[in-house]
Symmetry: C2
Subunit: 272 residues, 2 copies
């Protein structure tokens, strides 16, 4: 019997930062990735629309033989996870709880910052989860709606004047609030890590949702009685809903490894 | 018999800059506007996807009794207009030809700049139309993929440091090429007019596709034997595919007048 894969999906390609961490931590695992590049970004859309799109993403992934699904998208994890969990039939992880666990462990001053898309921040999901684990934590949130378009258009380096102007615009308030831990609540943001570190200096711990999520995948597989360090030869199959033509160049930035344009399949996501 | 309306559509709300100009120039005309806010932005998507989305936009508008349709979107006008014209059955205008006519009249040095989304610029449509009217014109093009997200997130003022950093990043090359005329090849860009004027100074003429398009609507109605200055009491009905909740606040920026949230209808665009 063929080994079951881990299904991972995102509104776009940001979720590949999560794939990257899982490939590193659990190299034997087979992965199927879907990025909804025909409808990104989700972060500015209404809850109804996000649930509708997410349901179709999940329906597509469920055409594969999966043991676990990861919503590698801050917006989906905060806006639609509870709704789609019921219909999933397969264990389903988001990025919120793993990131919150790490942040609560990391903070010394109990002053935690959270950044994400407009939808993620307005959901209040991170605050609720943080306060459930640490009731006296103070949470400072900031929506950063331009970070996804920046990264998607190749602007993420810390020596890029445009990047640093937007980082300063969005993050000055959090700096003034003396946070000691910052959750990067969107899977695109790990690419901005150096720029954000440059802005905050060494005293703020950054929590990368991709890395946190990879650890949680390992835990969940262990609890399911599956040895996460074993598996087949690994490997990831990629699917998107648009723009296969420049997939390789963009995806290699998120994955930190070479990808070939022939590795990606085009999905008619409206039919799911 | 009820008077026929002018149908206007865009990938988002940028096309309202065109509605604004038509309301001013032809105040008696009834307008039906559709903005595909559930799937914006179109500018980074593939040609197939843009044609598919545009066909559905057109099918929705055609449920109204229309005399003329305006694709108030640079990306649609350059990527999909020829394809959808065949299926329209109603006279259909884009923003390219009207803007190009004005640019060719305005230029003295025959050095014309064009800015637009990635899809618009890679189509080469503006160059082809300019050179068809003025074969010795030199055209300098630049894709500005962050301008739409900037405007959609409320960053467009000329005293905004983020706006001016991105304007400088994108437009320095065109300035070095000594253009004397610049086509704003996306209906979001008129909101950035002051920032762009501040960057270029008074010697570069900016061509606003909304204004150019309003003039062309007047011409076409006249040719059709319809008196464009007459009509009913005017008025515009608005429809979008997502985010009716914050429609009024965003739309009023583009329209330059107050709008009420109750003025907008939600469309299930996938069903068209």
């Amino acid at each position: 019997m063929a080994e079951k894969a881990i299904g991972i999906f995102d509104s776009g390609l940001g979720g590949l930062t999560c794939v990257r961490r899982i490939e590193k931590l659990l190299p034997g695992q087979k992965i199927v990735f879907f990025g909804d590049t025909g409808r990104l970004p989700y972060g500015g859309r209404s809850k109804d629309t996000i649930i509708r799109y997410t349901t179709q993403d999940l329906n597509f992934l469920k055409t594969f033989d999966l043991k676990l699904i990861v919503a590698a998208c801050g917006t989906v994890s905060t806006m639609a996870l509870d709704e789609i969990k019921k219909a999933s039939g397969i264990p389903l992880l988001g990025v919120v709880e793993p990131s919150v666990k790490q942040a609560v462990s990391a903070t010394k001053t109990k002053r935690i910052g959270v950044i994400g898309t407009a939808a993620t921040i307005s959901s209040g999901a991170y605050e609720r989860h943080i306060n459930a684990l640490m009731s006296d934590a103070e949470v400072f949130s900031k929506a950063c709606p331009l970070f996804v378009p920046l990264v998607e258009n190749g602007h993420y380096r810390s020596d890029d004047a445009v990047v640093m102007a937007i980082v300063e615009e969005y993050l000055s308030e959090l700096k003034a609030n003396n946070i000691d831990t910052l959750i990067l609540g969107c899977t695109h943001y790990p690419l901005l890590r150096q720029a954000i570190e440059k802005f905050f200096g060494p005293d703020v711990t950054l929590i990368d949702s991709g890395a946190a999520c990879a650890n949680e995948v390992e835990n969940v597989l262990t609890k399911m009685g599956i040895s996460p360090q074993e598996g087949s030869e690994g490997g990831c199959r990629f699917f998107v809903s648009d723009r296969t033509g420049d997939f390789a160049s963009l995806a290699s930035i998120f994955l930190g490894r070479a990808v070939d344009d022939s590795d990606v399949g085009l999905v008619d996501i409206y039919s799911y």
